[in-house]
Amino acid sequence: MEPGGFHVDPVAPVERAVITHGHSDHARPGHRHVMATPATLAIMRRRLGDGAGGTLQPLGYGEAVRVGDVTVRLVPAGHVLGSAQVVLEHAGARAVVSGDYKRAPDATCAPFEPVFCDVFVTEATFGLPVFRHPPAHGEVARLLHSMTVFPERTHVVGAYALGKCQRVITLLRAAGYDRPIHLHGALMPLCDLYRDAGIDLGELRPATVADAAELRGALVLAPPGAIADRWARRLSDPVVALASGWMRVRQRARQRGVELPLVISDHADWDELVDTLRDVGAPEVWVTHGREEALVHQAGRMGIRARALSLLGFGEEGA
């Protein structure tokens, strides 16, 4: 597909893959040779076991490696632990594949670094100007306020296992919440991995073994699929919250039966997408993953050549 004979985040098994980050719609199993940051490789091994790949080649941020006649570098994308943009240099031209990224601060991963380039391939998960994420600390303050208004109820927050969960925990700790946080079983392994990477998450307890009395007034994190389903019946009259950029739109929150929508996203919002197009200075932009048409239109208004790059098989995980 590209010079160098490798693919970035391929959807089907390939000979050589470069993986931007560990979410399952980007890091798929079964590639023969995988190159990614050490943290992304660790996440893939944790989630996929032997399926993580035949040979795993770690590449730290900023290190350059030649693959065929292409030079490859990985640069922080600010999305989740280990997430990277892929910088490709070939015949004097530079292309950057952003992967998923955000510009907002996040204590759990290295911040996005804009790289000046000729072609920029950007995600557009929140590629509509109604998606503008408020500061995350304000959303966490609303959660903590709700816990004072309903002190006897369990607050259960839906959060993806990789990235969102750990970010919400660090935001809570930064806001001074120092009680134990209870976790759905599916969230524990990656929290352990984040701790191994030196990120302090405070005291975490499994929600699965806690009894109903212990969960009165407690804070529980669980995968989004579990918060309003049978798993949640063990909780004490739960306040159902969900941490996601989609919560910006009321109807999306109502559809999911969410009582406390928290607009906390690991993706760039509209303003960050537009700022990034400006920052990387690329005369040509390819838009993928999301609502391409609006961002292509906006790029046109900024004098940038842009086109939509449709990809199959990408969902909303980690939004």
Binding site: L128, P129, V130, F131, R132, P134, P135, R142, S146, V149, F150, A228, D229, R230, W231, A232, R233, D237, P238, V240, R248, V249, R250, Q251, A253, R254, Q255, R256, G257, V258, E259, L260, P261, D271, R291, E293, A294, H297, Q298, R301
Partner: protein, 527 residues
């Protein structure tokens, strides 16, 4: 404005009534005057200012946002105020202003009340630049008069009572004598000042309500202690005519005078009365459906006044002139009511007759005959009962006629809210019309918690399609549904609509093919 916006947001997503009360209590406790009073006014619909039209808001947005981007966004979000609130390019979160400079609710309301309609949008534009997305949303909903957060005036007053510890009926008693931003009301509830004077105006006096009689109660209905009346199938109202003021209040204290001029025209007396609002033609009470045509409207046409003439059947008298009759026993008030009615003879009103009865058996027979007579049931009132606000258990009972039932087939199930959010707990059921099932109603109570677990399991195992929170199930489960009555409806595919449907029994044993047919349901329609 930020506190108000946070309240509006939280209320809109809060499914439970108690949860809403807690949010309101928190707001009243932690928001200073006059903002909390303006919030109370906005929620109870007592704020008056020049409202803005959605088209004006759309034009304003067009001056700031690319037309194509706006169109895509509006298409995605589906709500104009929300789209504009989210897309507005100003605001402190985009570096255009300082969060501390956000306008307070007091500033907004005061300016709107003093503004000419032509100047409203200019004010709004300035505020939009100073507010964040939540604040912008609350502002736009406020100025279009469309808060829609599921808070009735009654609920707001209940929250005031819960917060202050003052009884709800005491709050209701003074409600119509206080005005936004309710400084005197909050001063009283805070304990900083005395109770505001309820005044001699035509304010609402909280109603006395009956509790439902259970089987065990019936044996004690002795004519020596009790009076019986028919329970008419309309809506409970209070007529208050004092001086030049003439008001009709619903049971919860909402002022519905404006849409019943055919009643207020004849309120040329000085009294406060309790009665049932009905549609009556040629002395005959029309079905509830006819009255429905007159409810929930802001205006009324001459054609509607002719087609659905309103009438009040009187139950009780609370004030005659300035004299408060509420402490008197029921029989004494009844005598005063009869005497008053003979003297005044108001048109479009009559007395609800007392129903003579010899004893409990006699009464049970009367109740069983109520459906045949097109009446909802009986009211039992203790002869010695004073008129007290609220719903005390004991002095007044309502004894409804037996429910109707049909066997219907479960068609769709929807997830509940709050405690029931992990359960499919709202059930749409249908009956057979030829070979197809047509929905005839929706029920979300009548089953035990244990039965709900079973129903939820059944729904999950028999789902054929999903639509967001709704699952369509294969026709396989029969529910015996009880309901008070059924009416013709043009809004439902089946052409009928049930009142108070609930799940009476789950017929695990019955094959769906043996459920009832639409013709059976139609035969039960009130004539």
């Amino acid at each position: 404005m930020n506190r108000f916006a946070a309240l509006i947001d939280a209320l809109a997503f809060m499914p439970s009534r108690n949860g809403k009360i807690r949010l309101l209590v928190d707001h009243f406790a932690h928001t200073p005057d006059p903002d909390r009073g303006w919030a109370l006014a906005a929620l109870t619909g007592t704020l008056v200012f020049a409202e803005a039209k959605p088209a004006a808001i759309r034009r304003l947005a067009a001056t700031r946002v690319d037309a194509e981007l706006f169109a895509w966004s509006y298409d995605y979000v589906g709500d104009l105020a929300e789209t504009v609130a989210l897309i507005w390019p100003g605001g402190p979160e985009h570096g255009a202003g300082d969060p501390a400079a956000a306008p307070g609710l007091d500033e907004v309301v005061t300016a709107l009340q003093g503004a000419r309609r032509a100047d409203v949008m200019e004010l709004v534009e300035g505020w939009l630049d100073r507010l964040d997305a939540s604040g912008r949303y609350a502002l736009l909903k406020l100025i279009t008069g469309a808060l829609r957060v599921g808070v009735s005036a009654r609920l707001a007053k209940t929250a005031l009572a819960a917060w202050s510890g003052v009884a709800l009926h005491d709050v209701e008693e003074v409600w119509h004598a206080v005005t936004p931003p309710y400084g005197t009301l909050f001063a009283w509830l805070d304990g900083r000042a005395g109770r505001p004077d309820a005044g001699t105006g035509a304010g609402f006096r909280p109603l006395m309500l009956a509790t439902a009689a259970e089987e065990g109660d019936a044996a004690s209905f002795d004519p020596g202690d009790w009076c019986a009346e028919w329970k008419w199938d309309g809506i409970r109202v209070q007529l208050a005519a004092r001086g030049a003021e003439r008001r009709i209040y619903s049971r919860t204290g909402d002022d519905v005078s404006a849409v019943f001029p055919d009643v207020t025209d004849h309120m040329s007396f000085d009294a406060v009365l309790d009665g049932e609002l009905l549609v009556v033609r040629d002395g005959t009470v029309a079905p509830f459906n006819d009255l429905q045509q007159r409810l929930n409207r802001k205006t009324v046409t001459a054609a509607m006044l002719r087609a659905y003439p309103a009438f009040v059947r009187l139950y009780d008298i609370l004030f005659e002139g300035a004299e408060d009759l509420r402490p008197l026993p029921f029989v004494a008030r009844r005598a005063r009511l009869e005497h008053w009615y003979e003297a005044v003879r108001p048109r479009r009103m009559d007395l609800s007759p007392l129903v003579p009865f010899a004893g409990p058996e006699d009464l049970a027979a009367l109740r069983d005959g109520a459906r045949e007579a097109g009446i909802e049931g009986l009211m039992l009132k203790r002869r010695d009962s004073p008129y007290v606000a609220g719903r005390p258990r004991g002095p007044w009972f309502k004894w409804k006629r037996g429910a109707l039932t049909v066997d219907a087939v479960l068609m769709y199930a929807q997830r509940g809210h709050g405690k029931r959010s992990s359960f499919y707990s709202d059930f749409t059921f249908g009956v057979w019309r030829g070979e197809e099932l047509v929905p005839v109603g929706k029920a979300y109570f009548g089953f035990t918690d244990a039965e709900l677990v079973e129903l939820d399991r059944w729904v999950r195992a028999h789902t054929v399609r999903r639509f967001g929170p709704v699952r369509e199930v294969a026709p396989g489960l029969v529910l015996e549904v009880a309901f008070d009555s059924v009416n013709r409806s043009t809004r439902h595919k089946s052409g009928v609509a049930m009142r108070f449907p609930r799940v009476h029994r789950i017929r695990w044993d019955k094959p769906p093919g043996e459920a009832d047919r639409l013709e059976t349901v139609e035969s039960l329609v009130d004539r």
